[in-house]
Amino acid sequence: MADNVLYAGRQLLDRQIATVEGRSVGKVDDLEIDVDHPGGPVVSALLTGQIALGARFFGRMSVWVTSTAQRLRETGDTSPRRIDVRLVSSVAATVTLRVPHGDLEPADLERWLAEHFIGRIPGA
């Protein structure tokens, strides 16, 4: 198969996203498609985190996963965590970004737990 072909479901979706130094960012929980891009539709962003993931479940489960995630947002913004496709540097077993850990906003729950719970334990 040609190297320039990628099957989104099998080779991109559900893979681990890592920063340039190998820190975990999240999973590729969904992909955003820009339908109006000149020259045909393109992938515009990786969507990651509970809000994007929740939309893939059915019914009550979906509502529950998405709404608990949205409650942690301080801004009231309810859109999923978005990583611009231009930040991607390679796609293999891991989807690697070209930026370091410090350049990315942390996930909401990670930040909340670090501030309110784990960060308060000695040695954290």
């Binding site: 077993a93 990670e110 784990i118």
Partner: protein, 410 residues
């Protein structure tokens, strides 16, 4: 010594998997009730875990991805969520039993009731996962667990009729007075404990922690070919010791102290001391294995940072929170005086029912050349793996009906 430490991951994985509290007692119960008539199941299970753990280690070395990453990728979010729930629940049950097991080992040495030790054991366990580097953990508990080789020495000292024993093992028959379904039920329990999925969760995550790469494929093979057979040999020795000593006395094994009787008889006090050390290390190792696995499956399903991907605990706050919650839940369950032996027996049988959800995606990914390149499975491992996939499928289908029919081996 360095070479020896390289296989510590495999040894700890196997000892924690094969000779945790449940297997310790199950092997003994089986030995006392069925002699060596079910030894073949352990051999079958050991070959199975070797084949699949080797694939997991190979995938981890080449892609830096552990088993539950693969499960989510190949099964998709919904099926993987079913596996996540089942695996987490089984891990929690096993952890509960192991915590009690560690406390029982201390009770045997101190004569202070095990329930009083559970909070302390929980605290130490948490400190180990909070601060101790992975390598130190696997080296210390893996190697201490080798003290259980005292069962091999005991067996040799008991001087059995080896040829009669082998004959019994290769011509398995259901003993009179035992029902065929009960015989199969215990067979499945042994098979489930040999192939219990937390072994591959732990093993592959450990390989990622140790930053295995393509150059470590040999280390991977050494780990599985030394570690798992070692665990199996200890398990078989426990079974044989029980068959020799406890079987003729018609002892119904229900407590850890009874498992040690043959050792006391054959080697004396020093043997008992070695057994206690080994038992402590094996149950503590299994506690670590199940607690961390509970965290790994969640972190790898949701893509959270875990282990070295997060240099400080606060950078893996979701993973660390989950470990704490899991540990508290297991301690609370253990303090309800649930019988740890029954709890592991159930968790081992339940894990037999959940095996395909973990091993099927591993087999698929190990064959994917887009993922594995030139290290994809060859025909030899594929042939064995396919046979085991069928066995696992059949076992998964019959397990729960058999459990109900035999009232869990009564």
């Amino acid at each position: 010594m360095k070479k020896l430490l390289q296989v510590a991951l495999g040894v700890l994985t196997a000892i924690g998997g094969f000779v945790d509290i449940g297997d310790f007692v199950t092997s003994s119960v089986v030995g006392a009730r069925f002699g060596m008539g079910l030894a073949w199941v352990l051999v079958v299970g050991t070959v199975g875990i070797i084949v699949y753990a080797e694939m997991c280690g190979r995938v981890a070395a080449l892609t830096k991805r552990a088993v539950f990453d693969v499960v989510r990728e190949r099964l998709g979010v919904r099926f993987a969520l079913v596996n996540l729930s089942a695996s987490y629940f089984i891990n929690l049950l096993t952890l509960t039993a192991e915590l009690a097991g560690v406390a029982i080992a201390i009770q045997l040495a101190t004569s202070v009731n095990y329930l009083l030790w559970i909070p302390l054991v929980g605290l130490v366990l948490w400190l180990v996962v909070w601060k101790l580097p992975f390598e130190v953990m696997e080296n210390s508990f893996g190697l201490l667990g080798l003290a259980l080789l005292v069962f091999v020495i005991s067996l040799w000292k008991l001087g059995p009729d080896w040829s009669a024993m082998l004959d019994h093992a290769v011509h398995p028959a259901v003993p009179s007075g035992e029902g065929r379904p009960t015989w199969w039920y215990y067979g499945i329990a042994l098979f489930g404990s040999a192939m219990t999925p937390y072994e591959v969760f732990f093993f592959s995550s450990g390989a990622v922690e140790e930053r295995w790469g393509r150059q470590d494929l040999m280390t991977n093979r050494l780990n599985v070919f030394i570690g798992f057979p070692l665990g199996a040999v200890i398990s078989l020795s426990i079974m044989a010791c029980s068959a020799l000593v406890l079987g003729p006395l018609h002892v119904q094994v229900s407590h850890v102290s009874q498992v040690g009787l043959p050792v006391a008889l054959a080697v004396g006090k020093l043997g008992i001391a070695a057994m206690l050390v080994g038992f402590f290390a094996a149950t503590f190792g299994a506690s670590l294995e199940t607690l961390l696995s509970a965290g790994y499956v969640f972190a790898q399903y949701f893509g959270w940072p875990w282990g070295k991907a997060a240099p400080r605990p606060r950078e893996a706050s979701r993973f660390q929170t989950l470990l704490l919650l899991t540990l508290f839940a297991a301690m609370a369950l253990a303090l309800t005086t649930l019988d740890p032996v029954k709890v592991t027996e159930y968790s081992v049988v339940l894990s037999a029912a959940a095996l395909p959800l973990t091993y099927f995606p591993i087999l698929v990914i190990a064959n994917d050349r887009g993922y594995m390149g030139d290290q994809a499975n060859g025909w030899f491992s594929n042939t064995i793996a396919t046979v085991y996939l069928i066995i696992i499928g059949v076992v998964a289908l019959v397990t729960l009906p058999l459990m109900l029919a035999t009232k869990a081996g009564m």
